[in-house]
Symmetry: C2
Subunit: 348 residues, 2 copies
């Protein structure tokens, strides 16, 4: 899945250049979508028949510029309509090619540094999905009482796959407050919902037919014309449309350093990789000099950035735009982007 509106990392990200097309970190300039594709090497064959990127018409050419067209098929949605239509379409495409095929559904803009741990969990989960009519999630093992993510509440172990336990998912839980998040962490029964799923094409299409029957109706009434079908499909998330209602959801616990890179401040969670500087903070681009400064996040490739008495700010230069934001307001960058869209639309 490679849509996205490009607001959270503005001005580095824009509507035409959302997060998956960007690289983060000095020593890791590979873009997130290329990292995502490489994560499957040796597990998922590199071919147009096995790898699909679902994105929007707006982003198709930019994505193909990065990933090429030889080893992956790009499916361009007529419009972004959240994850349910995207996954429905992808499942139909896979089913057409292989009625027994299974899908691994992954966001293309997440950060998963421990590739070996990821592959091991993925292999176990894929083996389970191949042999069960379950909706399998990769739930991320929490290492802190995070209030910014949704959680999966796991119940009884329903079996093992390649030595790894598979747990029943009893509930999808919205972002908790800190007290609840601390309880979740302590209980050991909760995983972060990272939006990573595995299932047979047949299993997820059955789930759609049962829980979102309008999807099949939309598709069939449009006689396969995508631009006719899409507006009729419900623009909702797979979580809300399917996962929260289905009874056959199970989960494998992923412990591979996952982060969704949801905002500039999330870079601090991967600070060990980015090597935070005591005299500045995180620097993901540009030369930085400082006096009496710390705890900042600076991304300004090609620029010399000088900080004097500056703490806990985000300083970004890209294109002709400069963002200076308090770190604690990182979630509100969309308020800035709204203004940019209204007044300087080419820069959003």
């Amino acid at each position: 899945m490679a849509g996205g509106s490009g607001t959270r990392f503005w001005p580095k990200s824009t509507a035409n250049r959302p997060k998956q097309l960007l690289g983060f970190g000095r020593d890791n300039p590979e873009t997130l979508i290329l990292q995502t594709l490489r994560r499957f090497d040796g597990i998922v064959e590199s071919s147009r028949e096995r790898r699909f990127i679902v994105t929007t018409e707006l982003l198709k050419s930019a994505i193909e510029d990065q990933v090429g067209t030889k080893d992956v098929t790009t499916l361009a949605e007529p419009a972004a309509r959240n994850t349910a239509p995207c996954i429905y379409w992808a499942a139909r495409e896979v089913f057409l090619r292989d009625p027994k095929g299974i899908l691994l559904v992954m966001p293309s803009d997440h950060y998963i540094p421990n590739r070996e741990a990821f592959r091991k969990t993925l292999s176990a989960a894929a083996a389970w999905a191949r042999t069960h009519d379950d909706l399998v999630t990769l739930g991320v093992k929490p290492d802190r009482p995070e209030t910014g993510y949704g959680y999966l509440k796991t119940g009884a172990e329903v079996g093992r796959s390649e030595g790894m336990p598979c747990g029943k998912v009893d509930a999808f839980v919205e972002k908790p407050n800190l007290t609840r998040a601390q309880e979740f962490l302590k209980s050991g029964n909760y995983l972060w919902n990272g939006g990573m799923f595995l299932w047979k094409a047949e299993t997820i299409l059955c789930a759609f037919d049962s829980l979102m029957p309008e999807m099949k109706l939309a598709w069939e009434s449009a006689k396969g014309v995508l631009t006719d079908a899409y507006p009729k499909m419900t623009a909702t998330s797979i979580d809300y449309g399917i996962m929260e209602k289905a009874k056959n959801v199970v989960s494998f616990s992923l412990d591979a350093g996952w982060d969704d890179l949801g905002s500039w401040t999330s870079l601090e969670s991967v600070a060990d990789v980015l090597q935070a500087r005591a005299d500045v903070g995180i620097v993901t681009g540009g030369d930085v000099l400082s006096v009496d400064s710390s705890g900042n996040i600076v991304d300004a490739p090609g620029k010399l950035v000088a900080l004097l008495g500056i703490n806990d700010l985000i300083v970004v230069h890209h294109g002709d735009s400069i963002l200076v934001a308090r770190k604690e307001r990182a979630q509100d960058i969309k308020l800035i982007v709204d203004q940019v869209k209204a007044k300087f639309p080419t820069k959003a």
Copy 2:
């Protein structure tokens, strides 16, 4: 006088482009040196015989690019050695051309918005200097208890010129603390030392011979070869070398909105002209959008600057350099420039 090291407004100013070569304010893009020259129109003839700019070899061509060579003579010092050698040389040049000539000595990088008030005071002071062997200063009438300027302590009125009182200067006073500055303001007997002087060439040369006799010795032993004379002249200020010691110093009070533009924050003193924005602060270049921000100073021509939760900062983009500084640290930008000189000398 048009020397300067270009540190205080870095990165807008640099060693090759000090403050006098820059314009400040959206509605007033004329550079400070051009403003300075224009301030004398109608008072000082626009000619190479009447107008002299003393600068350094480093800056000569940049200055001549702005002011031309037709109506003003540029004197390039072999090296910057503070104001005393600069004024000594200029006085000799004027004396050569007109033994009865008087000099008006002015910094080229100050801001004086009320041109008519300036001309009126200048005319009165020039008339006094023409008819008295005094060292005349234009002292700035203070409108606040400023601790960032030196003061002139004025005593008895010694006469009037064109209706304006001329006061004896009893002392040059270093930058005071706030309590003393408040006393100065209340007493009405103190003026800011703005470094603006008038005197006969003959009078100042006499003062040099009496108080800094080494200047004449240096000049004569070098037989007029500037590069030989300059290293032998004492690198000190006219204030310390002459004014604080001379007995014949008088002053006229200038009330024309003067500011020395000593730092980025000084732009706030001219905020009425620069039209501070409630949602940002002072903007002297660039488009600025903001959320929950105020009291900032932004100069980033050609850029879109977005501020999110930002208060009391200086944000500047020029060339390939970006400065983000706390306003209260504006006087410490030189610490940054020292680092720039050491690590990125072409950007200082």
